[in-house]
Point group: C2
Chain length 287, copies 2
């Protein structure tokens, strides 16, 4: 009953880069995909390019009523409002999942308000590109990437397995299960802190005259410095507690390194570098 | 007289990754390449793999006397000592250049002590890999990279042109001329600061349990976190003044970002992100 074959009608809500990429991957697998996005241009593009079968620039009642599965790719706050307003239309037994990059602040709220017969299994497909919009949708970004399922005690084992199945059929390299809090702490470090660093490196002084001199290391560190300010400011604010902890720990560490350098403490600098090399070897081994 | 055809005998001193890569590129172009490195194993490897014609694990007098050009790829302090000890053997009119990643602290010292008939034109081929040693030598790393010539008022226009020619024949994308101070300030930002950031990200907490969850952004930011602690601690200490300025400016900027987040200042965060995206566009345009 929870298997993927029986869930034919999939409705994607929010057709940006992630919603579009998920739609593209699922349609390629033979599912019937409809989508709702307030931008008519996104819908038109997706239909013309075979990313979805059909789409609506408004919450179409028929489309919502017939969906067996709904996948939300909206900003967190909009996601909550949308569910609150439209859930009276949901099919009995509907399965919901999402692609939202923060979990703690939405998962419990949505599960608390949701109809008893509908299950929301939180997920975060950890993939992305530096570009935005359904025009850049690409289900190839899932290959080699991580898919996180972040259930609560309200979720059923069957729902969790079903959601892991979504990650599998979309081609993710690894599927993990974390609590919402574990997810948010992790994502604060590996994704949000790295974006803060890239932004700070671009904004700490006017470096544009250095464009001719940048090598691989600078380009690597700033690849993510072109940043969608609406999405990321919301994600940062919604994960503020963990992100502040990580930023404080990073700033403290870098200040320590600074003081070692100021004090000409060559051995102290080398100790830090050795630890860095040692830890990095774990990541290299897993690549 | 200063052209590359007439300078047949090239002696590379220091046969690590950079010395080896330069040797490989020049030998491919038909020059006779000899090398000196204290590790016999590096010499053996380079001869067996056609990277050099001949090599010595000691300062061979004949090899030094016959060189028309010497290229130094030693640690800064060792470079200075080597020139002081061996320059009585240098051929009349010898041209010297180097690959050293810091300039201010060595260029003036070496030029001041150097015989009047010998010209040292400082250079920094801004290329590298995360691996070390002549065993990883690869002149392909020069393609697309920047070659910096960092002359002083002691250098001749002919010497500077000759050195720019080295960058050209090795296949660098762009050749620039900067003063030693401009070079060191620039390199402190685009290369050294980025390495400090990568190291601090690895050392700020034990993140190895996150190995399963890292995406592209974390991998990009830590690609340079495997770091040769002897070389980089020396480079950092020799460029301490500029690097501390850059670190202080980066830490100040990130602390500002932190305070905006702590104060829920969404517009302030967005302003930083917009500035980052705008500046990054210059770098993207130049890629």
């Amino acid at each position: 009953m929870m298997n993927w074959i029986s869930k034919n009608n999939i409705l994607v809500v929010g057709l940006g880069l992630m919603g579009g990429s998920v739609a593209k991957g699922l349609r390629r697998l033979g599912f019937h995909i409809e989508a709702i996005d307030k931008r008519q241009s996104a819908i038109d593009y997706a239909v013309e390019n075979g990313i979805i079968d059909k789409g609506y620039a408004y919450p179409d009642e028929t489309a919502i009523r017939k969906a067996d599965v709904m996948i939300f790719a909206l900003y967190p706050e909009v996601f909550k409002e949308w569910v609150a307003e439209q859930q009276h239309l949901f099919k009995y037994g509907l399965l919901i999942t999402d692609v939202t990059g923060v979990k703690n602040c939405i998962v419990y709220d949505i599960q608390a308000m949701l109809r008893d017969d509908v299950e929301y299994i939180p997920a975060h497909p950890m993939a992305g590109r530096e570009v935005y919009g359904v025009e850049n949708a690409d289900d190839g970004i899932f290959r080699g990437a991580n898919f996180i399922v972040a259930p609560t005690e309200k979720n059923t084992p069957e729902g969790i397995e079903w959601c892991k199945g979504l990650g599998k059929i979309l081609g993710f390299r690894k599927i993990s299960v974390l609590t919402p809090a574990e997810h948010d702490r992790m994502i604060g470090f590996v994704s949000q802190l790295t974006h803060v660093i890239a932004v700070s490196l671009m904004t700490c002084n006017d470096n544009t005259h250095l464009v001719d001199y940048t090598g691989d290391s600078f380009r690597d560190l700033t690849r993510i410095a072109s940043i969608n300010e609406d999405m990321w400011s919301e994600l940062f604010l919604l994960n503020k507690e963990y992100l502040l902890q990580h930023m404080d720990s990073f700033i403290r560490e870098m200040s320590q390194f600074r003081d070692l350098l100021a004090a000409d403490d060559r051995e102290g600098l080398k100790d830090k570098m050795r630890l860095s090399t040692e830890r990095h070897s774990y990541f290299l081994a897993k690549k």
